[in-house]
Structures are given as structure tokens and as C-alpha cells.
């Protein structure tokens, strides 16, 4: 190794090209080690896990009773332990995936419910165009077991005469009473 000056005039250490493999063999990379504080990275990942868990919990609560929200993230350890960076990343990524899936499941469900609301509105406007169509309260994201059913007035006579109407069922009495108590 010899010393020289770089274009700015600073003193530099220079290894001749031919000497490099020998230098690597002798010294390893000891001199080039960079101290990385993995603990800070782990703390950061744990904060992200906490945030994602809160988001997922909220999505599960939102979707309960309306649709199945994917929320399961498998354990990465058989027993409780301090997870390393890779394991924490795996948990974080799985939670992020589940949260994304849960969001899209809820969006999809909302889309279906909106479409059903529109369908019920159209059924009321022109029942004869939706013969025998039945939409339940569950399809609209509502509690209870009632439904909207496009049926002919006076049975076969109404069917022949084209007297169609939407019949609103209030559901079974028990669930109706319970719903009233909850309100």
C-alpha cells in the first residue's frame, strides 16, 4: 500500500489492484463493518404490527354480520419469543396482506349491497319488470329476516292481468321484537 493525494489534495490510502485479493484474505471485512441498529428496526416493525392489528380489528368488527373478513395470520413461533427481523417482517407483511384483503372484501360487499338497494328501488318503481324477484334484508346489509318480494296481486288472476306489486315482509316476529329492543 502506498499513500497519495486525491485531486482535491487530501491524503488517501491506495491499494494496488494486484494486492487486493491478498488484502481481502488477510484482513477480511473487519475494517468495512457498518454498525446497524437492528433493535430500532425491530421496534419500528412492532409499531407497524400494532397499527395493522388495530386496522384489522376494526375491519373485522365492521364486517361482522355482513361478510366474512379474512383476518387469520398464522403464528411464526411455537412458543413466545423475541422475533428476529425476518420473522417480524413476515408477521407485518401477512397482517398487511390480510388488511388489504379485508378492505377489498368490505368494498366488494358494499358494492353488492348498493346494487341491491338500487334493485329494490327499481322493483318498487316497476314491479312487473322484476317478476318473482326476492331481496332479503341481509342482502342489503340490514339486520333481521325480512325481505322484498315482487309478487302478483290476487295470485294467478293478478299474474294474468299483470297486477304486480312488491310485498314487504317484516320478518319473523321474534327477531323483529329483539331488533326493536336493541333500538
Amino acid at each position: 500500500m502506498d499513500r497519495g493525494r486525491n485531486p482535491r489534495g487530501h491524503l488517501t490510502s491506495r491499494l494496488h489492484f494486484k494486492e487486493m485479493p491478498t488484502a481481502l484474505r488477510q484482513r477480511g471485512f473487519d475494517g468495512f463493518e457498518v454498525a446497524v441498529d437492528e433493535r430500532q428496526a425491530r421496534l419500528q416493525l412492532r409499531r407497524q404490527i400494532a397499527r395493522l392489528e388495530a386496522e384489522l380489528a376494526s375491519l373485522v368488527g365492521e364486517g361482522f354480520g355482513h361478510t366474512q373478513v379474512p383476518h387469520r395470520v398464522e403464528a411464526v413461533a411455537a412458543a413466545p419469543r423475541v422475533l428476529d427481523l425476518g420473522q417480524l417482517e413476515a408477521v407485518r407483511d401477512s397482517l398487511a396482506d390480510r388488511a388489504a384483503e379485508a378492505r377489498s372484501a368490505l368494498v366488494e360487499r358494499q358494492r353488492v349491497e348498493d346494487a341491491n338497494h338500487e334493485l329494490v328501488a327499481k322493483m318498487f318503481a316497476a314491479p312487473q319488470d322484476f317478476k318473482w324477484v326476492r331481496v332479503s334484508r341481509e342482502d342489503l346489509g340490514l339486520h333481521g329476516c325480512g325481505h322484498w318480494h315482487s309478487k302478483p296481486r290476487l295470485g294467478p288472476i293478478g299474474m294474468l292481468m299483470g297486477w304486480w306489486r312488491v310485498k314487504v315482509s317484516s320478518g319473523c316476529p321474534l327477531s323483529g321484537r329483539l331488533a326493536a329492543v336493541e333500538r
Binding site: A54, A75, V82, L83
Partner: protein, 223 residues
């Protein structure tokens, strides 16, 4: 109620003792802690007031609460901690979630005798994770630490994987964190002194931990 009698009851429950957490674990999990109280009590059938209290709690717990439970701050804090230590809280349930699910499954909180009922009442009321040990088998202060190489949990086959998080006294692990208790350290019919331990995680206020310990100890003391 006579205020003097309340003071007497409050004074009867011993103050919680603070355990310690291994420094390298504490630096990874700020807010992690363990506290415990020791109570003179004998295990056995729960008296009628305790069973009545469980019935009262059953009447206050509904299915919708079970789903919304994970959004409440303390149960959420335990779920997060379970994720952070590699457990799936939907498989290895947090204590309060497990009790709530049992309530839905069984139609009510079942009485399992003392000290289990006392712990269950405190867990349901506060959400804080509690466990009980035979105080006469504990040596020194309780702590949370990781297992050393070659260490095992009494009554469990084989050695624990190095780095397993345990609740330990000054000589040996007495249980897995949120897991099984070592043989000989749990409460047995012959136990005369019971240690109730609360595991605190980040997000669980100190006052909730103290309240949980107080409720459990007071329920045991009252019998």
C-alpha cells in the same frame, strides 16, 4: 356502607410487588412488566357470592362484545403483544378473549372453583392477563426472561427452545409467558398461599394492573 369497613377491606389486600424484566427483553418490549400479590387462601369450591358475581358478569357479556373486544384498548394491547412474540391470538387466545369465547360457548361463565374464579372475574372486569402460582414454591421476585440454553420447564418433556419467554423466579422458570405452568409451581389443593401475577404489556395502564390484582386478591381474601 360504613367507610371504616371499606378501609378495613382495602387495607386487608396486600400491595402489589413489582417484578423485573430481563434488560435485553425490556429494551425490545418497552412497557412489559410483571406484578404480583400474595394472598393467604385455600383452593376449593367458590362460595355463593363469587358464583353470583360470575352469573352477573355472564348477563353483561354478549356475542357482539366478543367481536368488538379486540378493538378495546387493553385486549387490543395483548393481541398486539401476542403477534409481536410470534403467537397467533386467534389460535392461542389472550386470556380475556378466551374467557369471552368460553362464555358464548357455555352460555355463561362456569365456576371452576378458587382461585380460578377470582382470576376470571378480575380478567373479565379489567382485561388484564393474570395467572396464579403456589406462593410457597416461589423463591424471590418474579421476572420475565428468556430461557437459557438447556433450561427446561418442570413437567414438560425436553428442553425449551433457547430464547423462549418465561415467567421465572430467582432460580428457575415457573411457567411460559401466556402458557403452561411448570409442574409443582401451580396452585394445588394443598396450597395455603397463592401468588397472583399480572403480566403488563405496552398499552395496559398501571392502574388497570393494580385493579386486576386487587379484584382477584379481594375475591380470594373475602372467602
Amino acid at each position: 356502607m360504613d367507610p371504616g369497613a371499606t378501609d378495613q377491606r382495602l387495607g386487608r389486600v396486600p400491595a402489589p410487588q413489582q417484578g423485573w424484566v430481563a434488560p435485553h427483553i425490556a429494551s425490545e418490549f418497552p412497557g412489559l412488566g410483571i406484578a404480583w400479590v400474595e394472598v393467604e387462601a385455600t383452593p376449593g369450591k367458590s362460595p355463593e357470592p363469587v358464583r353470583q358475581r360470575l352469573r352477573g358478569l355472564s348477563d353483561r357479556t354478549y356475542g357482539s362484545q366478543a367481536i368488538r373486544l379486540r378493538e378495546r384498548p387493553i385486549p387490543w394491547a395483548y393481541r398486539v403483544f401476542f403477534r409481536q412474540i410470534g403467537l397467533d391470538p386467534d389460535r392461542t387466545r389472550t386470556p380475556v378473549e378466551q374467557l369471552t369465547l368460553d362464555r358464548l360457548h357455555d352460555g355463561g361463565f362456569r365456576s371452576n372453583g378458587l382461585p380460578a374464579d377470582a382470576l376470571n372475574i378480575a380478567i373479565i372486569e379489567t382485561g388484564v392477563a393474570l395467572c396464579a402460582f403456589d406462593a410457597e414454591r416461589i423463591e424471590g421476585r418474579l421476572c420475565i426472561r428468556d430461557s437459557a440454553p438447556g433450561e427446561s420447564l418442570a413437567g414438560q418433556p425436553g428442553e425449551m427452545a433457547q430464547g423462549t419467554l418465561t415467567i421465572a423466579d430467582e432460580t428457575r422458570p415457573i411457567g411460559l409467558l401466556f402458557g403452561s405452568t411448570a409442574a409443582g409451581c401451580g396452585v394445588e389443593p394443598s396450597s395455603g398461599r397463592i401468588a397472583i401475577a399480572a403480566v403488563q404489556v405496552k398499552g395496559v395502564p398501571q392502574i388497570a394492573v393494580e385493579e386486576a390484582l386487587w379484584i382477584a386478591a379481594e375475591t380470594l381474601e373475602a372467602t
